[in-house]
Assembly symmetry: C2
Homo-oligomer: 233 residues x 2
Amino acid sequence: MNQLIEALAKTKLFKGLTIGEIEDLFKRSRPVLQKFARDEYVAHATETCDYLMLLLSGEVVTYMEDKEGKILQLEAIKSPDVLASAVLFSTDAVLPVDIVARTDCRILFIRKDKILDYCQRNEKFLKNLLCDMGDRLLFLAKKLHELTFGTLRSRIAKYIVQHAKEDEFILPVSKEELARFFAVPRPSVSRVFMQFEREGILIQNGRKIKILDRSSLEKLSEKLGDDYSYGEL
Amino acid sequence: MNQLIEALAKTKLFKGLTIGEIEDLFKRSRPVLQKFARDEYVAHATETCDYLMLLLSGEVVTYMEDKEGKILQLEAIKSPDVLASAVLFSTDAVLPVDIVARTDCRILFIRKDKILDYCQRNEKFLKNLLCDMGDRLLFLAKKLHELTFGTLRSRIAKYIVQHAKEDEFILPVSKEELARFFAVPRPSVSRVFMQFEREGILIQNGRKIKILDRSSLEKLSEKLGDDYSYGEL
């Protein structure tokens, strides 16, 4: 339990709280720990959500899916972090996404009413929760901006610019994951990379990328607006 | 002031609170009232936002805009209602949208720290605020779902199905407003309506629509998923 609390103390939700204060929340709220295996569903979209979920170890991914099975990957979340904080308090408290374990993981469930109670006891916790909810909303607003205004070309350019500290670098994810991230078919991603190669912008070898013309990539990525930046994939 | 408090008592943010409780908040927080003329900017995207805004009279519209001036209309908000509740508490507290007065309107500004303070004093207010923030997040998630998965055809079909209680009805907005709502060029909207006409789905005469084949519209609109519904335009 102590290790667990130390992990949580590092998250945004518990920022500035003492170990004693976190213990106090846990004593009052009696959270339930649950384990999930890799690829297991933690929660399904449209399910009611009555618990705050704290991801203690492992990673999850959130998805949206349409009726025909087309998938948009929204976010990869690494532990320790909080999941679905905003939804919990909405009118219907219904999840807008699937949450799937990307690795084995452990999640702590705390009842909603206990969270409300603790917000009133601890101002720092209240501020942190409101901040986390606000940040989730802005994350979605940026995704919306990107999907409305960005072309796949400019989105991939931006992704490369943000992830390539050196001109030679390894893509942190596969092209299949990139395709899910951008909600496009896998071959469309490959096509953009091949175009970039033909235009002398980069050379690729699997995930290994060598950038030859960074300014073209930067020009393309500027179309998405300065304030857009990709989270962890 | 009394009229004002009665108007606010009807909003989601003050639901369940007594007039006395709302007066208490106002006494503590000393809100500032500001008037805006039609078409005036209430706030610009990327501006820092330190105040909770309560729309007391009139209507505002929220927009996203890209560097080339392409516009996506997100929401039309009628008084009384709260604006930008979630953003206020995010890490950077930066607005993701422009807020523009659609009519003359009056807005009450309450400092952020006063809101935090009141959350700790009044549990109902805390719950209402968290609920409003959660609902805004779900609104964005639905928009994202629609923009990712919907075609313009299915989106317009859904819009018609939801707004046509009778088979003969008047579109509540112009096609230009629809185009902004869907972030597409104006002629694309007209083209969809003309297609529908050619296919014997409806007859149009300006904003006057007569539906001939509702089941086709329903079939198209189902592609967007059951849980998607349009807010006020």
